[in-house]
Symmetry: C2
Subunit: 333 residues, 2 copies
């Protein structure tokens, strides 16, 4: 065990695109766990689009990260010291322990996970927050019926790839939207979508119509911008839009929303924003279901893994630019 902690803190707030200079690498002491706390060695850090919002001063999903604070983030790791009977050294846990090698936390704020059931990193992806985001957004807000067409943007990403696979499990036609041929091939060949449309291909409207010839019943939205404008022209009456993310707009000083709002009126569309933390109390069943689907091979996932905590800022920037495939992780040890 190294005798120093390393953290990534927020050095300054970005204007427009995130820069590596917005972060600072800091060496500190390894914290001592207090009463009912445990010390965790973080093995993997999850990078996610929501982090961009936390870097702003303005309103976001949740409180901003303050300048000088450790960046927020979900982690999986191993308990190394425990002052709580619920966890013992060697236990694997998931939690929001941030961009750092070690953290002390209250035992009750951590979730014990079983790396023999599915690989440890899956608890940050298909069986973790991204998988649960797909599960709740698609099933609770989207409420798919067999035979319907489900379209999802950022389909090669950690959430989107799961959305399409759950749509298939529920008997729907799954159509992805992703950037570039490599991602589209992955979405169809690896994740088993019925089709995937390359939004960089120059004719999204035509290609989407070919991929979703019966129109779109559910659009699981991760990106916003021109993709959303195109999709709303092909929605069926009574379509549902689980609004999960708008990643194309997070770095825009003047975000583009939705000009064609009237299409939601005429087609009686429901668009609903959601945040996965609102479902925290009800995650036991979805988590078990996702783990079973992963074990059964019904849900497959891919990971892009950056090495070392120092690589985290660059990896987040890559994620925001769509450079990753599947779940973006940072391996900390």
């Amino acid at each position: 065990m190294s005798n120093k902690n390393v953290q990534v803190t927020l050095a300054s707030r970005p204007t427009g695109w995130v820069q590596e200079s917005n972060f600072k690498i800091v060496e500190t002491e390894i914290p001592k766990p207090g009463a009912s706390q445990v010390l965790v060695k973080n093995l993997y850090l999850s990078l996610d689009p929501y982090m961009r919002g936390r870097m702003n001063a303005g309103p976001s999903y949740a409180a901003s990260v303050e300048i000088g604070q450790v960046m927020v983030g979900r982690t999986v790791g191993e308990v190394v010291e425990s002052n709580d009977p619920a966890l013992k050294p060697g236990d694997s846990v998931a939690g929001y322990l941030g961009w750092q090698l070690y953290a002390s936390a209250n035992a009750k704020e951590l979730q014990k996970v079983d790396p023999k059931l599915v690989p440890l990193t899956a608890y940050l992806g298909a069986v973790g927050m991204p998988g649960l985001t797909a599960w709740w957004g698609l099933l609770d807000i989207g409420a798919p019926k067999a035979g319907e067409t489900v379209v999802v943007s950022a389909a090669a990403g950690a959430v989107g790839s799961i959305v399409g696979q759950i749509a298939k499990i529920k008997g729907c036609r799954a159509v992805g939207i992703a950037g570039g041929k490599a991602k589209c091939d992955l979405v169809v060949d690896q994740f088993g979508f019925d089709a995937c449309v390359d939004y960089k291909g120059g004719n999204l409207a035509r290609d989407l119509r070919a991929a979703a010839p019966k129109g779109i019943d559910i659009y699981f939205e991760n990106v916003g911008g021109e993709v959303l404008e195109t999709v709303v022209m092909q929605l069926n009456p009574f379509a549902r839009i689980p609004l999960c993310g708008l990643i194309s707009q997070y770095n825009e000083p003047h975000p583009h929303g939705l000009d064609r709002l009237v299409m939601l009126l005429g087609n009686r569309v429901k668009l609903q924003g959601f945040i996965i933390s609102d479902y925290a109390a009800r995650n036991a069943q979805p988590t078990a279901e996702l783990a079973q689907w992963v074990r059964d091979g019904k849900i497959r996932y891919r990971e892009t893994i950056a090495n070392g905590i120092e690589s985290a800022p660059r990896a987040l920037i890559g994620l925001l630019k769509g450079e990753n495939i599947g779940k973006q992780l940072v391996k900390l040890f």
Copy 2:
């Protein structure tokens, strides 16, 4: 009984604002009712914002009016000849008989109404389509809870004025948005809203915050544009937006939608378009409830009545510009 029918037909499709020249006044024979049909003398014609969409060739709520066809519209009138035992001469009926003095229609497509229960014109307003639009949009999509704040745009209009009054009946704080002091005074003094904000007053954001100090839980949307952009900044978490209309944008060649879509994500807002005709099979209870509220004085309404079928084009233009107060009607005889 005059021996000629007079109709208003669509002469040409508007580009941008509707012009009187888009319509044509036509004299024709009074139609003979066929089997199971009745001949109706239309006494009042309802003018409504949705008519603007029907004048376009493009997609709207429903099929466009074709060039040369009689303009669509809801009417109340009196049966003058009947070939169906369900209706007899002298009965009062409501139906979609269009912009014309007389029409023959299948008896089963008409609703018999009782002018002794509430005034005949109320069946085009508070107890008719606008009242039902308010009832379903607010109660089914908005799902208000006592103590919540309901904001409605076009609050002096036929739908908006009822929305606020139902909100009050349900124990909510009702805040209107309307154009000009006269309308705002009416909304508070006549319709009993807790407050009304003049969007032409120059500081909608500040004035709305003062009128809705606890934030907005339901925004019943009739107008769109800058009003919507302002309201979304003041929504509470889990707010609902029944999307009923976007009248500020109907005459815009390049409509403005919603730039601040990200606010719906962060606050987990549900925005849902709806069209009153989807609820047609379930209107008996809401209609009875609205009629009772009118009789009890819990719902009050105002009408702007144009005289003579020839005035209908000008009156529709006025409606689209916000010149009317309450329900816009045309008195046909």
